[in-house]
């Protein structure tokens, strides 16, 4: 298991090499000895890295952290496998109706490119409106939903184009 963090558009890989007697981490293959782990959390912090003291401030954000070190702030974003897979065209190809209902709004058209989480259609079912989102990044290959029309449970409302063979 490795941790991937994006810093200024570059993904870096961090993993644990050893825990005893000191924590040893690898950052992109470079070895670093860490002491004073108990002190690390959000706020103004200090630890010993490769034998030298390091002071920094840290704030955890929703998908990563912000670090202030030596008068500079750095925003780091975590890269998880689902996001990587989505960017590479992984993920479901179809948007299915979770329950029977009617189509309220079709937000996208065939040929539109969408990002994971973007709403493709809004449906209404049991007096409840819900948005159906793109399961991955990709291009809309088919929209079966027509505004105002009804559908059954598990009906395919939209389909993404299969990722190009790589």
């Amino acid at each position: 298991m490795v941790l991937k963090l994006d810093l200024d558009g570059t993904v870096h890989t961090i993993t644990i090499l050893a825990r005893r007697p000191h924590l040893v981490l690898s950052v992109d293959g470079r070895r670093h000895v860490v002491e004073g782990l108990d002190e690390v959390g959000d706020g103004s912090r200090a630890l010993t890295l490769d034998g030298g003291p390091v002071a920094f401030a840290r704030a955890g954000s929703a998908d990563g952290a912000i670090i202030r070190l030596d008068g500079r702030s750095f925003a780091l974003r975590r890269v998880d496998a689902a996001a990587e897979a989505s960017a590479a065209g992984g993920g479901a190809n179809v948007v299915r109706a979770p329950m029977p209902g009617t189509v309220v709004v079709v937000h996208k058209r065939v040929g539109d490119s969408v990002q994971r989480g973007e709403t493709i259609v809004t449906i209404e079912s049991m007096k409840l409106q819900m948005k159906l989102d793109a399961p991955r990044d990709g291009e809309i290959a088919e929209i079966a939903a027509r505004e105002g029309e009804g559908f059954d449970k598990d009906a395919v409302l939209a389909r993404l184009a299969a990722p190009a063979e790589g």
């Binding site: 298991m1 941790l3 963090l5 810093l7 870096h12 961090i14 644990i16 090499l17 050893a18 825990r19 005893r20 924590l23 981490l25 950052v27 992109d28 470079r30 670093h32 860490v34 782990l37 690390v40 959390g41 959000d42 706020g43 103004s44 912090r45 630890l47 890295l49 390091v54 920094f56 401030a57 840290r58 704030a59 955890g60 954000s61 990563g64 952290a65 912000i66 670090i67 202030r68 070190l69 030596d70 008068g71 500079r72 702030s73 750095f74 925003a75 780091l76 975590r78």
Partner: protein
């Protein structure tokens, strides 16, 4: 703590028609003076610092938070409802609104600021300029708008070069050009006139002396409203981005004493001539040749007032309140003495790498350095959302030192130490500006930021820095910590091993 009202207090209760750091700043002085403070707030800022720190609060409504803060009727009604006897407008919002000042007086309340007439006079660029010129304050020589190109050329040549030529009705740089010699003048005037006609349907052209690499110098003045006025020395605000100040200092760097005296004296002259009451600031453009010209007068407390406070040791807000209550000037000009140097950095939610565009976000962590020579003027809270509702200025960091070099060094160190995380800010950028050799040399002008753009851009962090940052980030991630700490013995001790 509030003390019981007595006759020595200028007011019993003051409503602050503002928010953020300036509201907190005013509350501080009110508290010291034993005067009750009233904060106003739109529902979106109900939990803001200024609301918590004030003795009383009143909610105001409006379609947007800014609209609420500009709703003078509602604010005056609030002041009356809570029994305030004065309103301090801070800066921005209604602070230079003559009708507001007038309405406050008409409501039987004291407006802590100049008279409405003075605000109106100085609020109009043309009248202010004329008033200044009439009272011996230098204004940039210019040619009045005309369609007569021959007359235009004659007058322009008289002023000298370089000249800035533009459409009288214009804007957006259309038909604007800089002319450096008489030979270029006629062609440029013709072009400006035709473009002015084409774009604005108004062929009049206008010219004024173009000050190259201008410095922004301003003088803090106080008047008693009875013709007496003093200055509290000048401030330099030349470092600007998008026409807004980001670094201010007092006194100005490398300003010859005679020139300083001349500038300050002209500001006092203007204040005295207008029977100026309360605090004001006269702004000038200063050319490399030592010529200076009136720009405008701000009839309010300035954002950068702390740099003046730090060198002269007076509380400008207290002076404002006392003068508004009818007191005389608390100090004579001879007694005003400057001590050392102060530098203010405006910390803004913006991205210096993307043309200083405003940023939004949530303040996740705030840790400001503390020292006797530092002021961190802010109204920030951890968890606070920074939205596009208000100005992107988050706080001001002010450092004082015995001289400019020490003040600069202290400001840089404080910026380095200041941790304000969760939103992009210009903190690191400001430190780079202060650390630039041209800043140290005092080679300032309003184009500083553009001139030094390349050197002021953040460099790539080195590998050691990057690794440290990545480790610091990783170690705080909960599941990565679990990964480190959650491995039981003997596996943790055995470590990586394959058989």
């Amino acid at each position: 703590m509030m003390t019981a009202p007595d006759d020595t207090q200028p007011f019993r209760k003051v409503l602050i028609a503002n928010r953020g750091e300036i509201a907190c700043r005013i509350i501080r002085t009110l508290r010291e003076m034993g005067i009750a403070s009233v904060a106003i707030h739109h529902p979106v800022e109900a939990r803001a610092r200024h609301v918590r720190e004030a003795d009383e609060t009143v909610e105001i409504s409006g379609e947007t938070p800014v609209a609420a803060h500009l709703d003078s009727g509602q604010i005056i009604a609030a002041a009356r409802a809570v029994g305030a006897d004065a309103i301090h407008p801070g800066y921005g919002f209604l602070s230079e609104n003559a009708r507001f000042a007038c309405a406050v007086s008409e409501a039987g309340l004291t407006f802590i600021g100049p008279d409405a007439d003075t605000i109106a006079l100085m609020g109009d660029k043309i009248s202010a300029r004329q008033f200044a010129a009439d009272h011996g304050v230098p204004v940039a020589p210019s040619v009045m708008p005309t369609e007569d190109l021959a007359e235009f050329t004659r007058q322009a040549t008289e002023i000298g070069f370089p000249l800035l030529i533009k459409a009288a009705a214009g804007g957006g740089g259309k038909g604007m050009s800089i002319v450096r010699s008489a030979e270029e003048l006629e062609g440029a005037a013709r072009l400006a006139a035709s473009e002015a006609q084409r774009y604005f349907g108004d062929g009049r052209v206008y010219a004024e002396l173009f000050v190259e690499r201008p410095r922004h110098i301003e003088v803090q003045v106080f008047g008693d409203g009875k013709g007496s006025a003093i200055h509290l020395f000048e401030r330099e605000c030349s470092v600007q981005r998008r026409f807004q100040k980001i670094i201010e200092e007092a006194p100005a760097a490398n300003l010859p004493a005679a020139l300083r005296d001349e500038i300050c004296a002209s500001a006092v002259r203007l204040a005295a001539a207008s029977n100026y009451r309360n605090a004001g600031t006269v702004e000038y453009i200063l050319g490399a040749d030592g010529r200076f010209f009136f720009l405008e007068m701000n009839t309010r407390l300035q954002v950068e007032h702390p740099v003046t406070e730090m060198i002269i040791g007076l509380d400008l807000v207290r002076m404002q309140i006392e003068i508004a209550a009818g007191s005389d000037l608390p100090i004579t000009q001879d007694a005003v003495a400057a001590n050392g140097h102060a530098i203010e950095c405006r910390i803004c939610a913006e991205d210096p790498e993307r043309d200083f565009l405003p940023e939004t976000g949530t303040i996740l962590h705030l840790d400001a350095p503390q020292a006797a020579y530092l002021r961190f003027e802010n109204a920030l809270d951890r968890g606070q959302r920074v939205t596009a509702d208000f100005d992107p200025m988050l706080a001001k960091l002010v450092a004082h030192g015995p001289d400019r070099a020490v003040a600069t060094e202290r400001a840089i160190a404080a910026l380095h130490e200041l941790a304000l995380l969760g939103i992009k800010t210009n903190i690191d950028y400001l430190a780079r500006v202060l650390g630039h050799p041209a800043f140290a040399a005092g080679e300032l002008h309003t184009g500083f930021v553009v001139q030094h753009k390349a050197e002021l851009t953040a460099g790539e962090p080195d590998e050691a820095t990057r690794d440290t940052v990545l480790i610091a980030a990783a170690l705080g991630l909960r599941d990565f910590r679990d990964l480190i700490l959650g491995v039981p013995e003997p596996h943790a001790s055995i470590g990586h091993w394959r058989n």
